[in-house]
Symmetry: C2
Subunit: 583 residues, 2 copies
């Protein structure tokens, strides 16, 4: 290797030394007969000077953007006026003594430094160009460091990395499986795992004690904005633990990950019971960087003459109010937009009021007594110039949900109390009732254990049974979901029965796990953290596609490789399958 | 977490302290009214004592193999006669003060410590039981340590771990692809990658500079004894490097990996040109722990009257001889077996001789002159009591191959010169001619660069062009294959043209890579090392299945999950495919 340094490492400390750099032509200009080339590699940029007297001057003058060069030269200080204080190498330049074009480049559809200005389709199609943008390299490098920090921490804490199969059998977790036809066994299929859930629990039954894996997971979903067909999970499972043990390990892990990104975290994270999260923030993944809280206003309107609220309260529904800081100045148009927002989230309407110096006004103000208006103003802590938003519904969860959506919108105008607000959401119910199918379903994960003392009520009152399920949320994002699992086959089978899986079907779909549970499975629990989302948050990127080297579009297409794509008829024949002719 | 220690960490250093252990009942016995339980976790075994006076004595007496326990007790010294010096915890026992059965176990089909005595099918079906065997845990733990050491080393050397897609487009590397039908785009398919080759080269074009990944690779092959549908590769690629740079990095990597297994390596590894390997060992992955070498005997038999050899030499064929140490004592049956072996490897026959004190004998001895017999004996260095094996064929490669197979058999009787014999096999030809298809094919990898000075002969004399391809072999196993790649589209297209890919087909199959090459790809090269094989060798296991948590059988089946398996008709309909009805 002739290269002696990365471009950005050639600083004034190396003055007068000979260095060899390799990289790409970021830009070039001829200035008074002297050629200046900004040479770029993953570290940054170094300025190359080619004097007209050099034998390679003509060759150097012919370089164009993105040509690949190897340049040997002497590090010298730039002349006074040419120093760039904003650049690591801004004090020096490399005066070329040897110059080689290692490769040329065709003309390209966009400039590396402008790649964020072109369409995503174009960026993905020319991803090799897009990834040369320093912002993209920084994202991938951050992801690398996060992955190494995670492994280092888990290794140091006695976790063992075990690879679980990609070609396996369907893990029934709600989404569709990607299927892989077997050539050797016609008519049979492998499935790509939606998560290593059953394997990691089996590893606990195998006495591995502490397992982790940066696991690729696959979900054939109708793609929403920021979902990918494959994503990576920091996946772990531990034996002989309580919820608190898992929380402590994950808090240490997040601390290490944040440290690698230069950020300090305070632990332990707060624990917020699910019901409290819904009551205060109208969300099971509240953004706790903001103080704003929903207020239950049922008491305020207990005697109200406003028919909508009165009916709601008579029907044991709920009324919540939110302060809208400075929303007293919102236009009718803004208020209509907020009303639209809550309607999209299940509301039938939204009452809004504006707080003035001596009064509370608004189209609905006339329905309320002065006492009610004062009480609701005090309840939410509204000041002169603020707005008040009041929502109601016969179903408490519905009003929590749409007022939570409103809160999410309102906090955009508020000051952040901190940069990183973590919380454990705990005390989820084990099961929820699916009315249309007359059965219970796992509120989160069918393998989560019920709280031990609620076990006797499992069949009597399934909805009342609490679980050892928890989520980790950060700034309004769900980062991870975990639980303590069922370690007894009998309990697992009772839960599956409530979910209306027959014994036969349970054995067919979950057989491996059920067999492992009855063969001496230890108490165990675990969690899976979304690596893509964690990286995107730390990189300050809105989309996880910015932290994945080769992502797919929302249509599950890779424009770079043009996949998926048609295959030879013979390949399908070999697999014993054929296409259905569509009309 | 109540547990204070792993079982095997409770040694005499902890005498008189209170400890809580969790684990599995490895064995139990009632000895004079006192109950002894060997409790096992991943660390090893600790002896638990339950005295008859304890309130939990009855519960403890009911435990059976593989029950899961949590025991708190006081560490005490065993009585004199009960000390077991072969056990880490052999001096102590834990006298139970608190005792809890955390889970029971049904009766199991084999005992953990006897798992290697049952059929592989049974072991894989009850893998959760099989993995409790300390030998299996040691294998997985070794694999974990190797993976961490590899990443640590590569990270320290500036490599960045980048995840490449699993759902992608076919990489045409000889084997069949596993296909995944797209639900969103009916009639189109993703393919699982046979390796990340094209992606890692694209990452070099993206300026990543140094990439690595512990990458899952998929090959839908007709399974041979020790192949798996999916395997893991320590995959890497570097920019601006020569072959020697890659070798140095990999030698450092192997040194670290071996260190983690407590073994010291000497570097640099020897470099053995492909032709020399074939000439001396009859193999491109010779087992260099043994000194035995093939000897070219063409000169010895230049004037021979033995028609077979004379015809071979007249036809520009080759004759090779091998010493068979102490093979003078082999029976006729043994000689017949060796003859069968070479025939299976392409030989028409095998001449064997036995060296006596004053003569060289054997069925074919009468065809040779005394001078020839003496010369061949000296050539191979045979002593009284040895055998001599001579093979010939009109095709030199054929005789090298079958004599190489014979060497592999003969060395089994020889003393090893060292435990770990690494070598780089270098100077492979770029292309080899496929007579049946009248075209050239890549001898290894279609992306390997030709040696620069041979480039002008690429079309004139393709067979003469050398390549920057190399293999890493260890003890007769190919661990890795690597090369410096083509970084110019024009050269890559010329090679693909010799392989009879039309420009259109090349663009269709290799488009992403060709486009990346012409967009300013740097010179680059890399390698992929088989993690499964490396781990198996260091674990002393013959089969890679012993170092994979959940392997598949030779029929590509997982007996634990019973995959592959049938799926619902509806799932296929959703994917736009249907099964071909077989007659």
């Amino acid at each position: 290797m002739k290269r002696t340094n990365y471009c950005a490492d050639v600083t004034a400390a190396l003055l007068s030394t000979k260095q060899t750099l390799c990289g790409w032509v970021n830009s070039y200009r001829n200035h008074g007969g002297v050629l200046f080339i900004d040479l770029r590699d993953r570290s940054g940029i170094c300025q190359i000077v080619v004097e007209p007297s050099r034998p390679f001057f003509k060759e150097a003058s012919a370089v164009r953007s993105e040509y690949v060069l190897e340049v040997t030269g002497i590090v010298q200080r730039r002349i006074e006026g040419a120093v760039n204080k904003n650049m690591k190498t801004g004090e020096i330049e490399l005066v070329a003594e040897d110059f080689k074009v290692l490769n040329t480049s065709v003309q390209l559809p966009f400039e590396v430094e402008n790649s964020f200005g072109v369409s995503e389709e174009t960026r993905l199609k020319y991803r090799y160009l897009d990834l040369r943008n320093p912002r993209m390299f920084a994202n991938l490098y951050l992801r690398h460091r996060i992955a190494q920090a995670a492994r280092r921490y888990l290794d140091a804490n006695g976790f063992i990395e075990v690879e679980t199969p990609i070609l396996t059998r369907s893990t029934p977790e709600g989404a569709r499986d990607y299927l892989v036809p077997s050539r050797v066994h016609h008519g049979e299929f492998y499935a790509l795992p939606q998560s290593p859930q059953m394997f990691k629990q089996t590893l606990m039954a195998s006495g591995i004690d502490r397992y982790f894996q940066l696991a690729r997971c696959f979900r054939d979903e109708d793609l929403r904005a920021d979902r990918q067909p494959e994503h990576t999970q920091i996946d772990m499972e531990m034996s002989f633990v309580t919820i608190d043990d898992i929380h402590t390990i994950v808090e240490g892990l997040m601390t290490e990950i944040f440290k690698t990104a230069g950020k300090e975290l305070k632990t332990p994270f707060i624990k917020l019971p699910f019901e409290e999260a819904m009551e205060k923030y109208g969300s099971d993944k509240p953004d706790l960087r903001y103080r704003l809280e929903l207020k239950n206003a049922s008491d305020v309107f207990a005697q109200t003459g406003f028919k909508v609220f009165a009916d709601v309260l008579a029907g044991k529904g709920a009324i919540y109010a939110l302060r809208g800081e400075k929303a007293g100045a919102y236009s009718r148009g803004q208020m209509d937009k907020l009303t639209e927002l809550v309607k999209k989230n299940g509301a039938k309407g939204l009452v809004w009021l504006k707080v003035k110096a001596d009064s509370v006004e608004g189209p609905a103000a006339k329905f309320f007594t002065a006492q009610e208006l004062t009480a609701v103003k005090e309840l939410v802590g509204a000041q002169n110039g603020d707005g008040i938003f009041i929502g109601s519904d016969l179903n408490k969860r519905t009003v929590q949900n749409f007022m939570g959506a409103l809160r999410k919108e309102l906090v955009k105008e508020l000051p952040k109390q901190c940069d990183w607000a973590f919380a454990w959401i705990t005390n989820f119910p084990l099961l929820e009732y699916i009315a249309e199918e007359d059965r219970w379903d796992a509120a989160h994960n069918p393998f989560t254990a019920p709280v031990e003392e609620d076990l006797p009520n499992l069949e009597k009152d399934p909805g009342s049974v609490r679980s050892y399920q928890f989520d980790l949320v950060l700034n309004g994002n769900e980062l991870a979901s975990g639980s303590v699992r069922n370690c007894r086959r009998e309990v697992q089978e009772r839960i599956l029965a409530l979910m209306k899986h027959s014994k036969e079907e349970a054995a067919r779909r979950f057989g491996m796990l059920l067999n492992a549970l009855e063969a001496g499975a230890p108490p165990h629990g675990g969690i899976g953290l979304g690596l893509d989302r964690i990286t995107a948050l730390l990189a300050g990127e809105d989309s996880i596609r910015e932290v994945i080297a080769f992502p797919k579009t929302a249509q599950a297409v890779c424009p770079l490789t043009d996949s998926p794509n048609v295959v030879d008829e013979q390949q399908l024949t070999d697999l014993g399958i054929t296409l259905i002719q569509e009309k």
